[in-house]
């Protein structure tokens, strides 16, 4: 990968991350932290590749640990975020009908 192409990707992604979050209300800080926690669960994809190329038993063992942890990050991160946000939905409905 070209070093400059990589730097462009980093700079633009960093700005995006900053811009997307910059006007978030305090109310959503916790779900947002949880949601971004879910998004770095994309590490699972890397873990799958790492285990796929593993050759020695040690590499396989470490790769397996990576996949297990990555999968936990994905499903746990999703479920926690979903649970928190589901509550906001419910309160909106109840709040609308006094």
């Amino acid at each position: 990968m070209d070093v400059y192409a990589a730097l462009f990707v980093v700079v633009l992604s960093a700005f995006l991350g900053y811009e997307v979050i910059s006007r978030v209300p305090v109310l959503l800080h916790t779900p947002l932290m949880s949601g971004s926690n879910f998004i770095h669960g994309i590490v699972l994809v890397g873990a799958m590749v790492a285990l796929a190329i593993a050759q020695t038993p040690l590499e396989q063992a470490v790769g397996f640990v990576a996949v297990v942890m990555g999968a936990m990050n994905v499903t746990g991160g999703y479920a926690v975020t979903e649970r928190i946000l589901a509550m906001f939905d419910r309160s909106k409905k109840q709040g609308g009908s006094p």
């Binding site: 971004s36 699972l44 285990l51």
Partner: protein, 463 residues
């Protein structure tokens, strides 16, 4: 058909960005996480499918289809990890959510470190970036797990300090990184063992001196770090989805960390190196005494008030009192009392913690006011009911020399009456005595928040 993987990763990344954008507004938040979830599923399925197309697999850095045993291990790992993660997240109490975020963030960091370890063992990735990914990932998993243990109460929450702490920690990190570089230069996998032991140790040592009150900021910081570790791995194995998603979380997480720290009037270095709450304040003696009040008397104060402001804190979360609090609000509103909630940005263990719990109980948004909105109103408020909050209502924050000095607080002391529901006479999370409880206009209701609020509701019926 063959080169489907990069277009799908691109699509996933775009959906992640819109998902994150959606999550920054209450109306679209739920749609945001669902969209991101679908994108994640597609990315994972596409990666698995790519293993069976040799040309596409080579784009992922594979030399042909992986061995059957590796494929089986991948399926097994996803099954075990995915099942465990989902089950635990569904089963855990809402109050334990902050530490669950810490735990799952740690898993991500651990996965990033483990990927880097495989790359280093196999010598297949770009080694310098793998070392960086391994260091950051290790610090993130070790630190997150300590944060989890502290929040879960399985470990002492007060800062753990010892002489020469910072120099020791830095030395551990430097020696650790040295072994990592050595393993690359000498091409000897054996140096990876001390490398990982020392970088994990650094993550633990870094988190030990951080007190419970600062934990949300630290978890957010580790979240950002995990993102960066994932991006480093992404560079190492040339995976654009990991690079963009990782940097996205790294940047968003860093900003979120700064926002949280600002809300507590703390700087990131002072969070990391300040050992906040380890030292007792000296000299600041408090005038007055703690004055208890009976629930009946408290209820009549509330019933005849024009405006009541409720300031909830971690005590409400621990006691699971949010449902009772909602009943209390309904009972008071039935009597024509205006009820508002004063939400300090860092009340509880995480920003937004109170919003989540009150939303769970069905309290609508328009009852919730943040610190800047509500502070001018306290002077015209008849009764403030503090439920299990402590440091965020401590007027010591206005007194120079106090460890809390400068932290923006809810100025509940300005109200005509202050009622405080509190488990016992202990100190707050920061370990600092609360001046508020000794003020003339303050009365204490001791006991579990849910039980006390229940008594207040009962008493209200007879007023």
């Amino acid at each position: 058909m063959i080169d489907f993987i990069d277009p799908i990763y691109l699509l996933a990344v775009i959906v992640f960005i819109f998902g994150l954008k959606g999550m920054s507004s209450p109306k679209t938040a739920r749609g945001g996480i669902v969209a991101a979830g679908v994108a994640m599923l597609i990315a994972v399925v596409a990666t698995a499918a790519a293993f069976f197309f040799p040309t596409t697999a080579s784009l992922l850095g594979l030399s042909g289809t992986p061995a059957l045993v590796n494929l089986a291990l991948i399926a097994l790992g996803i099954g075990i990890g995915g099942g465990l993660g989902y089950y635990a997240a569904k089963k855990v109490q809402m109050t334990a959510m902050p530490q669950m975020v810490a735990a799952y963030n740690g898993m991500g960091g651990g996965a990033a470190a483990a990927i880097a370890a495989v790359e280093l063992l196999a010598g297949s990735g770009i080694n310098g970036l793998s070392v960086a990914g391994a260091v950051i990932g290790s610090v993130s998993i070790a630190g997150s797990l300590i944060a989890f243990l502290k929040l879960q109460g399985w470990m002492r929450q007060r800062p753990i300090v010892y002489p020469l702490q910072q120099p020791t920690n830095i030395a551990v990190l430097i020696v650790g990184v040295f072994f990592g570089v050595l393993s690359v230069v000498m091409n000897q996998g054996v140096y990876l063992l001390p490398f990982f032991v020392l970088t994990l140790l650094f993550g633990i040592l870094l988190t030990l001196p951080i007190g419970g009150a600062d934990m949300p900021v630290v978890i957010s910081l580790f979240n950002a770090l995990t993102g960066i570790a994932v991006a480093m791995d992404g560079f190492s194995i040339q995976n654009y989805a990991m690079i963009v998603a990782g940097i996205l979380v790294g940047a968003a997480g860093t900003l979120l960390t700064v926002l949280m720290a600002r809300a507590m009037n703390r700087s990131i270095p002072s969070v990391l190196f300040g050992a906040f709450g380890a030292t007792e304040e000296v000299g600041g003696s408090i005038q007055g005494s703690l004055k208890p009040i009976e629930p009946d008397d408290a209820a009549s104060l509330l019933a005849y008030a024009g405006q009541v402001v409720i300031a909830p804190g971690y005590g409400m979360a621990v006691a699971q009192a949010q449902q009772k609090v909602k009943e209390l609000v309904d009972a008071l509103e039935a009597k024509g009392v205006t009820v508002k909630f004063a939400i300090h940005p860092v009340a509880g263990r995480m920003p937004g913690h109170m919003n989540v719990l009150l939303a769970e109980a069905g309290v609508s948004y328009d009852h919730l006011y943040d610190r800047d909105e509500i502070n001018p109103e306290f002077a015209t408020t008849d009764v403030v009911l503090v439920i299990g909050a402590n440091d965020v209502v401590n007027p010591a924050a206005h007194r120079q020399g106090s460890p809390l000095f400068g932290m923006p607080i809810l100025d509940v002391e300005n109200a005509k009456n202050v009622l405080v529901i509190k488990r016992g006479q202990g100190k707050g999370f920061a370990g600092i005595e609360n001046d508020l409880f000794y003020k003339d206009n303050c009365r204490m209701l001791y006991g579990d928040a849910q039980a006390v609020v229940g008594k207040l509701i009962q008493s209200l019926k007879t007023v």
